[in-house]
Symmetry: D2
């Protein structure tokens, strides 16, 4: 584990450019608010930078990813504009050990659906529902210090069925004023990387100024750091009998 944890907060940064009320709500961008929340809770245990869709290569060059322990992802209006080769690069880094935290509408991002293998669809409504976030795994490090329930006075509603693989760990379940429920905090391991999906957060609500939401994201950053000493993708290798430690590269099937 590198110390401090190197965090890259990725933001789509489209609503902020086109909708004045979003810009007013998040004057430093949604990515700015998320980055502030991580720093607020983890202090000098992290170094945080931001990157956005509009940056060259969306700010996610090979070099940036190599120097990123944990990447957070928020996108919504422009999922389709994220370049496929950047998605492939992020995917490769996750399998090699980079942590990934996918936030709210990032459920429909290319990187999340690629990692899940499913449609990641759900039901939704933006009608100022109150959200209650209940902890169902009280010894999980991501739930440490989080109120039970955590109350978010208003937010967009996401409801089941959420088309994801059954998570490795279900940490939070949300309910909404309207009665819907959602598996709102889910962990997944993929390759050598750890992935956390966290539901709250929408451009139309001040969710990323909510201290509990920020606490969860900060906890997730610490949890998502891989324990492996170096970044390396799982690889297909041939091993001779009794030589358990020296694999040979694959020479092709025929």
């Amino acid at each position: 584990m590198s110390t401090p944890i190197r965090v890259t907060v990725w933001g789509e940064n489209v609503h902020e450019q086109h909708e004045p009320e979003v810009a007013a709500r998040y004057p430093d961008g949604m990515h700015g608010a998320i980055a502030q929340g991580v720093t607020q809770h983890l202090g000098d245990r992290v170094t945080v930078r931001t990157a956005t869709l509009q940056d060259p290569e969306h700010g996610l060059t090979e070099e940036v990813l190599r120097e990123t322990d944990v990447l957070t992802w928020w996108g919504h209006a422009a999922h389709a504009d994220v370049a496929d080769d950047v998605v492939d690069r992020v995917h490769r880094h996750v399998l090699a050990g980079m942590g990934l935290i996918v936030l709210h509408s990032g459920h429909w991002s290319k990187i999340f659906t690629k990692l899940m293998g499913t449609s990641c669809t759900l039901r939704w409504r933006s009608a100022h529902d109150r959200e209650l976030v209940w902890t169902v795994d009280p010894t999980h490090p991501i739930a440490r210090g989080v109120p039970h329930p955590m109350i978010i006075e208003e937010d967009e509603m996401y409801g089941e069925f959420f088309d994801i693989p059954a998570p490795d760990e279900l940490v939070f379940i949300s309910s909404f004023s309207g009665g819907e429920v959602f598996r709102s905090g889910c962990t997944f391991k993929r390759g050598h990387g750890k992935v956390f999906y966290f539901r709250p957060g929408d451009q139309d609500y001040p969710t990323y100024h909510h201290d509990g939401v920020r606490k969860v994201i900060a906890n997730a950053v610490e949890w998502a750091v891989t324990v492996r000493p170096e970044r390396a993708e799982p690889t297909l290798l041939r091993y001779e009998t009794e030589d358990f430690y020296h694999g040979h590269g694959y020479g092709g099937p025929l």
Copy 2:
């Protein structure tokens, strides 16, 4: 559930064309042997057809998939030759409810890696290891009537780490003469579809003539049929408060 279950056995059918010893081992193709095994065990509870890479659209047209309850997949030498649009079509049908059984070297197929979201790599050796297949979920329907352990006198070795998501259910673990172990029977749900990965089976060994292996595949066919009445992909819809049953189509983010 349709009765009988409509099974399509897909075979890459490349080794059989290029390697006389494989053709001698599997005179009806590997897909032919697999199809025979399913019919042998399920009789008139199934109708089985085969399709291969060489068929137009690899034999997996929209019409064929619509009429397929469960698809089995064996590929190895020509994963890259499977057309992406066919893979997308199969993926869509799995999410909509088609069962999928991925066999042996199909672990590296486009459809399996797309459903898993990982590299699906592993360690391997082809050295006539004896494989023992142990049941670790003795009430699972796929294990019904399967010897504990099931002995396969010789087969290719696959060893851990197998880079897949933690399976929903781990049904079988294999050991090999050389000492390696492998999670050799794994279930996954994706969307409305059920997926089973089963390890045994290689072109260089007569594995698909093994009665126990055939029994497992037949059990998996019955297990993989979805319980949902019609094939439908999970869909993102908007729901008004208190109207739980009538979703609206998505109109875009902005």
Copy 3:
């Protein structure tokens, strides 16, 4: 699998004796209503009998259990009055392959806490909350034909944290008018037996007359039948090298 499935519906039958309004709500006892629901949905695919706390050995003799494929359990006021040796007997039969469906306040029964190993505590309130039961595993046989959501106009509230082991499969999540959530449909395998916990149902509400609730219980009955041909507890045995099928009885540690 025996055909028809032999179901024993166990009811504590205490509230019905002491509270006239419960007796009026459930004139055949709560166990009577549950039994009727199973028969209503499964017809001649089941034979159903009932047993109660007041019967000799609570109606759960060795002979009755031996002839029971699936046992359903409702208790509340008199958990402590269930004899320990009967609990041990039921436990032994579950490990040997008998299915068990634990209903509502049965969460705190001796048999359920013994099978779970935890306190099985939760938060609750009896205040006529509306319950919505959402399916989060849409291909699970227990969810077949169940509305999404299933609406129960009023019922007792149970909320998280529910102190159970993480279930093997999470089938249903409930929300309540008050905003609480609950993992209300959970499967567990223990030994050779299958266990389903289902939340709805309280003596103070007509829950077991609700058709959807009855449908779930009937589905669970079919699901809980073990696939193993004979009832047998897992046993500790010694096996000589290469003799995989003939275990020897344990002779003691010293």
Copy 4:
């Protein structure tokens, strides 16, 4: 989390008293060897004490448990001699947040079977099998720095079917010279406590002098510390509508 972690290593200490060859192999007792391994790897991050069956209350008084963050458990010949009230006390502390690491033949201890709810039986043989311990969850903290595979030159064999609930996380799978496999590293959460079962280690082999085995146990000690600030059992409480944080004690069912 207390710093340093307070570890109590519990040993049955019976074989060491009755079998000279065991005493020679483990001159400080098996518990002594385990304690040394923990200290060797964690140094001043832990304080380690030992307790044995022969101590008053088996060395596990309320006071000792209250001051124990993580308890390790090895027993074999005298499971039945462990007093039920001590088992209940340990169980209560686990549910309230104490970590528990169960080693090898501890699978059949009263505390482990009570926490699992199953028979915890398995197949076994003591015939100097070589054990290979393979990591199947490479980002799990318990696997950090552990060779893949870890080779134990000789040990007792444990084989499947191991009658435990499906573990929350499967970290290690072992194979043996004879071909058997075993889920040898399994995590479980119970209440507010974390439980790890680790297979290697027998009185007839020098397993607890093996550096890799010691490394795993040390990793598990760090993993098993609960993240909750105070020890408290999950409790059943009544909550009024909209009062999410102030539960009332249970007043009985009638």
